[in-house]
């Protein structure tokens, strides 16, 4: 008997007792739903926790600063940098050439004078701030290649990122909102407002007031959380470079809020090929001569705890699935008791033991597959529902919503796992059916 013919007979066998089949499938479906929901929630939690640790950037991201390494700090996640050291294209090329480095994104910072609009929010914003807006303030602009924003620890909170080539668009952090005593939970309020900024330069010839600025009018197009470098304004790298170059032409060292930069780049964000490579890459960059930091120890530690949680949750689902499999075995044993004569007839008209075995194994697998498919779908829906509730809470708290991490692996695992377990559970009853003597057909014991 072919597998196809056995499948047709098994299908009829499953539908023979619809009520029993329904209950058996339901038990598998509930177990599969539980397993899928738990694994999806655990996976989503894991992704979100790690994303938080990576500050929106890649998990294998390493920050390099234009400073020599402090030998005592090398293994620390947040290593304190040593004395300043220029970081130029040669260093970038050397780091990018390391075998376990995936990408290198330069970061340029520029200390600037900012003139916020008054009021500092859009005209259509219902609530106007009561606090007085400062006439100007010094702040750092962080310039990065916006085309590589996915490789940077930058999370968009509202609006969009500035265009990569633009000299008139910037994004600000929630620190900017707090500085202007705006509600950080309403970042949209500053979108579209103008921000004037000036790159300072010292002209010695001007005597007592040697400071002058090159002014640029920009529009705030987005609000972000960023950890590429300290600074409340994020802009395309050209803007920061222009400002930095202007400041570097100062005749003398200024006093107070800014200094003349000497390094072409303020820092780098280096992405290693994997979490396992972070330590090695940091060591190699240290050898090149620069200070690095990366939350590798924290991530490794958190990952260990997350793995334990995942194992516990998966075990709960797996136990449910095993219980459901025992239900399948029990239902099949009952079916075989009822169908002794039918099995005998099958053998009397020529079925071999393995034909009978095949029919009952397929019956068990069918129950597992149907239950698994229904349960996995239900589990995914349950996880979606839980995700919606969680997102409602997060949004209410002014936090970013989470993206449900419904992995195809979990879906495939739910269906295939249920089927395989059901197949295994059906082995004993199926072997028992296959061993029934053909004389059962006659009702002879």
């Amino acid at each position: 008997m072919s597998w196809r013919d056995a499948l047709a007979l098994a299908r009829k066998g499953v539908t023979r007792r619809l009520g029993r089949a329904f209950l058996t499938v339901l038990s598998v479906a509930l177990a599969a739903a539980l397993l899928t929901a738990l694994l999806t929630i655990a996976q989503t939690g894991r992704t979100e926790v790690l994303r938080q640790l990576a500050k929106g950037g890649p998990l294998a991201g390493i920050k390099v600063v234009a400073a020599a390494p402090d030998p005592a700090q090398i293994a620390n996640d947040n290593a304190r940098p040593g004395p300043p050291k220029d970081l130029g294209d040669d260093a970038v090329r050397a780091i990018a050439g390391l075998p376990e480095v995936d990408s290198v994104v330069p970061v340029v910072t520029s200390r600037m004078i900012f003139l916020p609009p008054d009021p500092p929010v859009r005209a259509d914003t219902p609530k106007q701030p009561s606090a007085k807006v400062p006439r100007f303030f010094f702040e750092t602009m962080v310039g990065v290649d916006m085309n590589k924003s996915s490789l940077l620890p930058v999370t968009l909170l509202a609006g969009r990122l500035p265009s990569a080539e633009s000299l008139t668009e910037v994004a600000v952090t929630t620190g900017y909102l707090e500085r202007l005593e705006l509600n950080p939970l309403e970042p949209e309020a500053v979108l579209g407002t103008e921000l004037e900024m000036g790159s300072p330069r010292v002209f010695e010839s001007l005597g007592d007031q040697p400071l002058r600025a090159q002014w640029q009018r920009t529009v705030i197009v987005g609000v972000v959380a960023q950890e590429a470098a300290p600074g409340q304004v994020l802009a395309p790298i050209q803007q920061a470079t222009l400002g930095r170059d202007w400041t570097r032409q100062s005749d003398a060292e200024p006093e107070g809020d800014f200094s003349i930069p000497t390094s072409p780049y303020s820092g780098l964000v280096v992405v290693a090929r994997g979490l396992d490579s972070i330590g090695k890459v940091r060591t190699q960059i240290t050898r090149i001569g620069y200070s690095t930091s990366a939350p590798e120890n924290l991530i490794a530690s958190v990952q260990r705890y997350l793995r334990v949680i995942e194992i516990v949750l998966a075990s709960i689902g797996a136990i449910a699935l095993v219980i459901a499999s025992l239900g399948i075995a029990s239902a099949l044993l009952a079916a075989i008791r009822e169908r002794r004569r039918e099995i005998g007839v099958l053998k009397a008209i020529g079925a071999r033991d393995r034909d009978v075995l095949r029919i009952f194994l397929i019956e068990a697998s069918l129950i597992g597959a149907i239950g698994g498919a229904v349960g996995t779908l239900a589990g995914a829906l349950i996880a979606q529902a839980v995700g919606s509730v969680v997102n409602g809470y997060l949004i209410g708290q002014g936090l970013l919503p989470i993206d449900l991490d419904l992995s195809p692996l979990i879906i495939a695992g739910g269906v295939i796992g249920s089927t395989v377990l059901a197949f295994a559970a059906g082995t004993v009853p199926a072997r028992r059916a296959a061993r029934l003597p053909a004389k059962e057909a006659m009702g002879v014991v």
Binding site: E342, I349, G350, A351, D353, V444
Partner: protein
């Protein structure tokens, strides 16, 4: 109810429409057949040192009281279990030497069973029940569907092809069972009280159908019955009593 002539015509048409002739009747030779069951720790001897022959294409009826061992004899002839002692030779098959898949192959290719309870699978339609025998012998799906329809038509049930056993009368179920028994073109048809659960008219029709099958296919027919008038129609009539066979 179609008469015997009509049944003969239809069965003849089955023979003509199929290229391979039905397997000719198989001779049965039983020597020193002894069989017993274990019940409550005691050995219960059912058949004791039986000797008998059935000619190829013969029609034999076996009668006897309930519990005499008629059904046990049929299970041994049909290869449903091996004999404990003695020799059962059916055609070229020495059933003592067969087991497992070989015994299944013997049943599949050479034996057609008609049970008292019809033995139809309740979840399958009449057509699918007949097809099942072809399925087990590895016939392609298209061919087996066609053959099963032809056989159902031969037993006068083409109109009931899509009905499940529960929707058929007792007589109709037995006719479907006969159609299924025909599927393997068996050399030996074993009928275990096929009329036991039927009224007189249905019983007559079922026996007539079996006799037509026997006549047209030249198969060997062994029929177990309690009904003396049906038993009397056989060429060889045997009585099983006290574990021994005697001419009736």
């Amino acid at each position: 109810m179609p008469n015997r002539a009509a049944c003969r015509l239809r069965l003849a048409s089955v023979s003509l429409s199929t290229p391979r002739p039905l397997e000719s009747g198989l001779a049965i030779e039983v020597r020193g057949l002894t069989h017993s069951y274990r019940s409550d720790g005691r050995e219960l001897r059912v058949l004791g040192d039986l000797d008998f022959n059935v000619e190829p294409g013969g029609y034999t009826s076996i009668t006897g009281a309930s519990g005499a061992g008629k059904t046990t004899l049929l299970t041994l002839l049909g290869g449903l279990e091996p004999p404990h002692a003695g020799c059962v030779q059916v055609g070229s098959y020495d059933l003592r030497l067969l087991s497992g898949d070989d015994l299944a192959a013997y049943r599949r290719s050479s034996v057609g069973f008609v049970f008292q309870h019809s033995g139809l699978l309740e979840t399958l339609t009449a057509l699918e029940n007949v097809e099942l025998a072809f399925t087990l012998s590895g016939t392609s799906q298209r061919r087996r569907r066609h053959k099963a329809k032809t056989l159902l038509s031969a037993v006068g049930l083409s109109e009931r092809a899509i009905h499940q056993p529960a929707q058929l009368s007792g007589g109709e179920r037995q006719r479907v069972a006969i159609a299924r028994a025909l599927a393997n073109r068996p050399g030996l048809v074993l009928a275990d009280e096929p009329t036991g659960n039927l009224d007189e008219a249905s019983a007559e029709r079922v026996v007539a159908l079996l006799e037509e099958l026997h006549a047209t296919s030249r198969c060997t027919l062994v029929l177990i019955t309690h009904n003396p008038s049906i038993a009397a129609r056989a060429d060889q009539r045997l009585l099983l009593t006290g574990g021994k066979l005697t001419p009736a």
